[in-house]
Symmetry: C2
Subunit: 345 residues, 2 copies
Amino acid sequence: MEENRQQQRISDLGEFGLIRHLTDDLVMKNRSTVKGIGDDAAVLDYASTRVVVSTDMLAEGVHFNLVYTPLKHLGYKAAVVNFSDIYAMNAQPRQLLVSMALSGKYTLAMVDEIYAGIRLACERYGVDLAGGDTTSSYTGMTLCFTAIGEGSDEKITYRSGAGLHDLICVSGDLGGAYLGLQLLERERMLFEREKGMQPVLEGYDYVLERQLKPEARKDIIALLDELGIKPTAMIDISDGLSSELLHICGQSGKGCAVYADKIPVHDETRRAAREFDIEPLIAALNGGEDYELLFTVPVAQYDKIGNRPEISIIGHITDSSEGVRMISPQGEEIPLQAQGWNALR
Amino acid sequence: MEENRQQQRISDLGEFGLIRHLTDDLVMKNRSTVKGIGDDAAVLDYASTRVVVSTDMLAEGVHFNLVYTPLKHLGYKAAVVNFSDIYAMNAQPRQLLVSMALSGKYTLAMVDEIYAGIRLACERYGVDLAGGDTTSSYTGMTLCFTAIGEGSDEKITYRSGAGLHDLICVSGDLGGAYLGLQLLERERMLFEREKGMQPVLEGYDYVLERQLKPEARKDIIALLDELGIKPTAMIDISDGLSSELLHICGQSGKGCAVYADKIPVHDETRRAAREFDIEPLIAALNGGEDYELLFTVPVAQYDKIGNRPEISIIGHITDSSEGVRMISPQGEEIPLQAQGWNALR
C-alpha cells in the first residue's frame, strides 16, 4: 500500500485532489488569517480593512502557447486573471506582484512586451505593480502573479454562503474563450503542416478576444454595489461553469438546478461551435477561461437583478440531496461533473 | 539602435538591471501602496497595521539541484528564504502562499516531501500556509512563494535609511552557504564520473546545513526589539555581502567602509575554503544565500549592540563620495562590486 502511494502519480489526483491532499489538515494559527486555502483568494485581517490575496502560476506550453499568444496579451491576461480572483471575493485589487522565470531564448524586447501587457492591465484596473521576482529557467517561461486587494468584512463573499432557493446568476456569456482556443489550435496545426500558411481568423474577433485578452468583471462588482446586493456566494469562472457550480454547492453544502436554455452563450460562440462540431452548451459548461462571475443572491432580490442585460439568472440552489443538476429544455435532469480543463492532466 | 535593443539579451542586463529596466518609471497610485518595488518586500497599508509582502521564484537546475537537495529541505528553504525577506523589513511573517509547477516526473510522494518541509518551516516560524496554486509544467519544477507579514509603521525598516556614521552590523557569519554548495557540487561531479561512489561529506555539517537548510533570523528581529533598537536600514544577505552593501548604500545615497578583519566567517567555512583554494573573505563577500541580516544603527547605540556575540559590527556609513569600500588589515582600500550570484547568468 505504502509502496503504491509512493508511486502514485499526481495526475491521478487532479489539481483539486492534489490541493486537498496537501492542505486538508492545515490549521490557521494567526488571528490575521481570516480565510486560508479554499476560495478564490486568502483573506487577511490586519485591522478594520480586510486584505485579500490570490496567486496564479502559468507555465509555457501548459497554460499558453507562444505560437499564437502575443506576449503583450499574455501579460495582460495573466494580470487580469489574478484580478478576477479578487473581484470574485467582492473585493478590489490594489497591488500586483509579478514573478517570472525566463529561459535564454527570451530577449529583452520580449520581456518588455509581456510587461507592456501587465502595465496596461494594471492601469485599466487601477492596480499598482508593487513587486515581484525575475529569474532564469532552463526551459521556457513560467509566470507567477500575486494580486492583493482590499474589501470590507461585510462585503467579502466566499464560495460557501449559498442558501436554499437562492438564485444562481452569471455575468456575460460562456464558452467563448474555449472556442477561441479551438480556433487558434486549429490554425496552429494547419500552419505546422503547411509552413508559411497564414491563419484564417477573420469573423471570429469575439471568441479570439475572449481567449487572448479576457477582462475581469470589475463592472459587475461595481453594479452589485450600486444595486445594494451582496451575493451570498461568488466565484469566477476559470475552469468552466460545471466545475464552479460544484465548488459553490460543495462548499455551501447545497445542491442546484440550472436550466440549459438559460445559460448565456454568444452568437459567435455558437457559430464557432458549429464549425468545430462542438455542442455550445458543453463549451459553456466545461470550457473555462471565461472569467465571468458566478454568484448567488436571495430570491427576494430578484427585482433588482432580474432584468439586467449583463446578468443571467440560470437556476437556483436546492437541498444537497438533489445534487448538482442541469435541466434540459425537455425536462431531463443531467448531473453535472467537473470536466473542466485540468492543468495537471 | 532599436534593432540592437530588440536583440539585447536579458543576461547582459543582469537581474537588477532587468528589474530596473522594467520598473523604473512605475508610479504607485493606490493610497494603500506604501512601498512598491525596490526593497525586500512591498509594504501595504490597509489601516493602522502595515502589510508586508514578498515573493520569490525558484527554478530547478537554476536555484536548486535535486541530485543533492532533499525535497524536504528544498521546501523548508524556499519558505524560510521568503520569511527572511519579511524579517529584513523588521516585520513578522504571518502567511505564506505556495505555488508550484511540476513536470510529470514528480510523484505524489515527492510533492509530499516538499510540503513537509514547507509545513515544518511554517510551524517553526509561526506562519499560516494560506493559499497558492499547483499546476503542471513540461520540464522540471518551478516554485513561487509569497510571504505576507505585518509590521508597524514605526518599526518597518527600509534599505534606504542609513545615515552618515551609522554602524554597519551583520548577524551570524557569512560564506558558509557558498562553501556548502561547492562541497555538494564537487561530490556531484565525482559521483557522475564514478557512478555509485558515495559522497564524502563528513566533518562539514555546518556549511552543508547553511546551504541546504538555512534559517531566517527571527531571533535577531526579536533581539533588536528587546534592545529597543530600530535599524536605520536593513536587508537580508541573499546575494552576498558586497551586493547587499551596494543596495543599502545606493538606496541611502551613502558610501561605506567595512573592515575585512571584522567580517564574520565560521571556522568550518575557513577550513572548507582552504580545501577549495578559495579566499574565505571572497565567499563572504560574493557567496550569497547566507540569509543573515545586514543593518545599520546610529553610533549612539553602540553600547547596546557592541558586545553581542550574534552581531558583528563590520564598518560604518560614509559620504557617498567615498564609495563602497572594504579596508584590508594592511589599510588598503578595495572598492566593492556586486559579483554575487546572478540568477540570470
